[in-house]
Amino acid sequence: MKLAQSSYADVLVLSPQGRLDHDNCAEFHLALDNYLEQTGDKSTRGVVLDLSGLEYVSSAGLRCFMLAAKQARAHGGRIVIAAMQPVVGEIFEISRFNLILDAFPTVLAALESLSPESAQAYDQA
């Protein structure tokens, strides 16, 4: 699975593409791990998972998000979700992940929730 990366001030934006299901969630989890180790230090306050390119997520994929959020918290950082496609948004609500993970309609709104500097950097980019 493709996992594009970009940085805005002290926030990392990761953008998975395609489908996240039982077949590739282990690979996705490993890829996320590398980035999550950076969260919590001064240079990376948090991570935004930009899901605008994600077409489908299975229960195993959702669990990866939950584990990532837990891991980020353990490092003193935070992960939020942004820009879900309608289908993924519906799956998110049906599985009640909207109750355990913060989700925002746009990447900008997600960045604003993490740090003003990152939102400003995104706006200027």
Partner: protein, 318 residues
């Protein structure tokens, strides 16, 4: 094969409160205002055609007890939750006092799955044969224990029926009066077992009190094999997926979402959401059903899976 649900609630029996009943009556009366419902048949028609399921019905409150009729004189039932009392009345009425043969299959012996047995009428009828099948070595102990003083006034040894405990082996298919049953070990405190029942060309899977670890691919494959081409999968959908993988991880239960995914992978025909969370009222269960139907639509890849929510009294023909 006909399947009857005598108990569908998880963990502990629940019932409608007087407030629930009053509120439903009030809503129904308001909905009926201005209509000429002067006969019972008009009122029944109005009820069926105009009122939402949670207003005219209840999912019910008995704990796990699911009967299936493979087409023989003998009875087959999964678990002896509090629904077993009503199931016992059904057996007694149908047999008109004559002794019956009842084959019981125990997923495990947690209290909500055995609590109906002391109230199971046929156990008190001499000549009745009750064969209690399961994979645990503590089934007889559990049945005897709950009827020991000071918990219950009638000791197990005073039951008049001929009661036999039959040990099944996980993964091994066994013939029980024309039905092939294959148990499978499940993740639950003290272990539980799911059952695949095959009779003629019909397949029923009963899988309750079972947690699924999504990261474990071989676990998933094992359940896909258990569910393969089933006509009906009765599935523990007690929690939301979010709860099942976070605050309620390791509590031994599963979710509607995982039920759909496993059934889709196994190309099962029908999924019955089962072991309803006792904290959920009828409106909440109805919402979960609606969302699960939608989830199946969103994730369908060719094969259509029918999704229903089991309720006490539901009968299905496979």
């Amino acid at each position: 094969m006909r399947v009857r649900f005598w108990g569908t609630r998880g963990s502990i029996p629940v019932s409608l409160t007087w407030r629930d009943l009053r509120d439903r009556l009030v809503e129904a009366l308001v909905a009926a205002s201005g209509r000429q419902l002067d006969t019972l048949s008009k009122a029944y028609d109005f009820l069926e055609q105009n009122l939402a399921f949670p207003l005219r019905h209840t999912y019910g409150g008995h704990t796990a007890c699911v009967e299936f009729e493979p087409g023989s004189d003998e009875y087959f039932v999964c678990d002896m939750g509090s629904g077993a009392r009503a199931f016992g009345e059904h057996v007694m009425a149908r047999h008109a006092g004559r002794p019956a043969t009842v084959n019981v299959f125990m997923s495990h012996v947690h209290w909500d799955h055995i609590m109906g047995f002391p109230f199971f009428g046929p156990a008190y009828v001499a000549g009745t044969r009750i064969r209690i099948h399961g994979c645990h070595d503590v089934i007889e102990q559990a049945f005897r224990l709950q009827q020991s003083p000071p918990c219950f006034p009638v000791p197990f040894d005073q039951l008049h029926a001929d009661i036999e405990f039959v040990r099944l082996v996980p993964g091994q298919a066994t013939q029980v009066s024309g039905v092939t049953v294959t148990p499978k070990l499940q993740l639950h405190g003290g272990d539980s077992y799911g059952f695949r029942f095959e009779c003629g060309d019909k397949i029923l899977v009963y899988t309750t009190d079972s947690e699924h670890k999504l990261e474990n691919i071989s676990n998933t494959e094992g359940f896909v094999k258990l569910f393969r081409n089933a006509d009906l999968v009765v599935f523990d959908a007690m929690y939301s997926l979010a709860d099942a993988v976070s605050v309620k991880a390791d509590w031994g239960h599963s979710s509607n979402v995982v039920g759909v995914e496993l059934c889709q992978m196994a190309r099962a025909r029908r999924l019955a959401l089962f072991h309803h969370e006792p904290a959920n009222d009828d409106t909440q269960i109805e919402r979960i059903l609606r969302e699960t139907v939608r989830f199946e639509e969103l994730t369908r890849q060719g094969h259509r899976l029918e999704v229903i929510a089991a309720y006490d009294g539901l009968e299905l023909d496979l």
